[in-house]
Amino acid sequence: MRNFFATRLGTWTGFAAAALVLFGLAPLVLSGFRLGLLAQFTCYAIVAVGIGLAWGRGGMLTLGQGVFFGMGAYLMAMHLKMADAEFRNGPGAVPDFMELAGIRELPAYWAPFSSPVFTIAAILVLPTAFAVVLGLAVFKRRVKGAYFAILSQALAGAFAILLIGQQSLGGFNGLSRFRYFFGYNLDDPVNQQMLYFIAAGVLLVVVAIALQLRRSRYGELLVAVRDAEERVRFLGYDAANIKVVAYATAALFASVAGAIFVPVVGIISPASIGIVPSIMFILGVAIGGRASLVGPVVGALAVAWAQTALSEQFPSAWTYAQGLLFILVIALLPGGIASVAALTKRFQRTPAPVEAAA
């Protein structure tokens, strides 16, 4: 299995099968509502691919991906609110939620977001640049392990608190009520399906990038830094730079996921980007198997799907069922869902390939 998917033919087969499922099968068997949910879960999966890279391959337990997810989401939401206001009231119009908050003048930092090009550039550049600066500051000082985890989590908490205080960004309620996505009506089911296709396509692209990084010499270095940072340093590499690349890539993925999340779900608020959502991102990756390529994707989709399915079945008791499921997976499958294959091999008394001890 493993060997087949490592070949070029295997890679192509894997991607073709994934594309077939995402673009062909899913729209056929799922209702419009379920497809919208899948689009939302796909956004979580995009974040998860980044975490798989930073944590699974690079050993950086980033408990604060909500920050980058939130940046992308808020940047996109600002554009959607601006476009909406301008469509109804002409250039320079104040978005509806600001009118209610008593803000009469458009804040200066909002103005550039009426441009779609600026917005997309900002979504790609700002969170990545922030991650590079933060990563350099942290990794050059050789902050790692639990200290890095605590720092990144504190950042997520602080970011959420900062946003709650910003009335010009919707405060506690966040931004919602988006009508158009780059000129397309968001209440049209056809356009909602288009959003799903965009999310699915981005997921494939992101997985392809992660695959390339894993197979490159850089990927080898990243694993080496994870497993023996001192030795890599003795060989003459700057471990901090290697980590920063993975961290910034994870930030970029999270930001893009946030940007797609906003038109799909229709709301972004501090509740979706703080400490708890950030931990949920990690949880999906841990359940799926952080060190494998598809593990984080499978885990993120499975956790989100289980949460929805369980809460629909048992509205008042689903949290217990979900907790039990987490305990079972972590206890019985420490390597995540992706390690099921390895586990079956173990039962067949053939030695399982040793992959990525953490």
Binding site: G171, S176, N185, M194, F197, A208, V265, S269, S316
Partner: protein, 426 residues
Amino acid sequence: MPHRFTTLPSPARTFARTLAASVAITGLVATAACGSRAGEETAAAESCVDTSGDTIKVGALNSLSGTMSISETTVRDAIYLAVDEINAAGGVQGKEIEIVAEDGASEPTVFAEKAEKLIREDCVAAVFGGWTSASRKAMLPVFEDNDSLLYYPVQYEGLEASENIFYTGATTNQQIIPALDYLAETGVKSLYLVGSDYVFPRTANAIINAYAADKGIEILGEDYAQLGSVEFSTIVNQVSASGADAVFNTLNGDSNVAFFREYANVGLTAEEMPVMSVSIAEEEVGGIGVENIEGQLAAWNYYQTVESPANTTFVEAFKAEYGADRVTSDPMEAAYNSVYLWAATVEKAESFAVEDIQANADGVSFDSPEGTVVIDGDNHHVTKTARIGEISADGLLYTVWESEGPIEPDPFLEGYDWAADLTVTE
């Protein structure tokens, strides 16, 4: 033999091809599947509500997990009680009401997701629930886009009127303004404002500031605490030092417990500096501890102690169903009313269709525990009697003042000259 280039898979080439293929597929599928553009009419979402059977489905969407569950489960209980009573009396249009329950999980995104699920998958005729403004704001586009109905049962900050939402709790002119009128009547000349940092307290305080400027009341301070914050020594010391005649409290949730304990701790009493609260009802008094809050004031439209035949029936039925130790509160009563108001509108319209309910809602009334409530067809709010209550040693609230009859809802405060600068009406 000429040298041949190796055909080993080059990672970079595979990558470039995979990337190109992914982008191409996405681009093709996405552009091939484009729908209507801004300004064009979207085909109206087809309602899938099934009215052919003996039952009619409605949704109950409350937070059954997360921080809001302690409050929202009480609202769910009230919704179930009303549905059971209506079913026992023959249902709506001869159909038995069937509840589909969902958990909002105290998260706006979950509220939006579950609302859409109820409308599109379960095909419910109406949804009852929501508590926080964040949850309502998250659900609003879902109900508008799918042209369905939400009955929202909690007092809120006003400045909203959607065709697809019926607001059965108080808007600001049915709660905050009467509370200010009461304080002004009792001779209060200065106020200190304390609230949680989110939209309701901020809007409420903007209204209070405008009111105070007009009526010559001095605002001596305005402090906000993070939602869930339990550290109040600084704020209470500032309140104490200000020497204000009264405190207007818009704190929400656990913060109230910490605030009132600290308030009693520094020796402030209801006699020297009364606190007017707008989020403390029967349910919360127990958690705060009666000894810390006895004699303080609250502004609502309903208390368990309201004397009316309808309320006696409601309280007895509730206790019989859920236990004698349970109390009834304003949001519970508003949720109970909302089910009856929906049923009455359906009976009047003789239809479950959204447009028929919207067209027939104006003037629909219900003899509720708080008194008669009537739907305003223009803004979808209801008339409500304002009541100031005093918290007594038995943990209940007793009315010390009430408005002369029900107050017409005015969510955008158009009837108040001093509020002209506060709002931009759409």
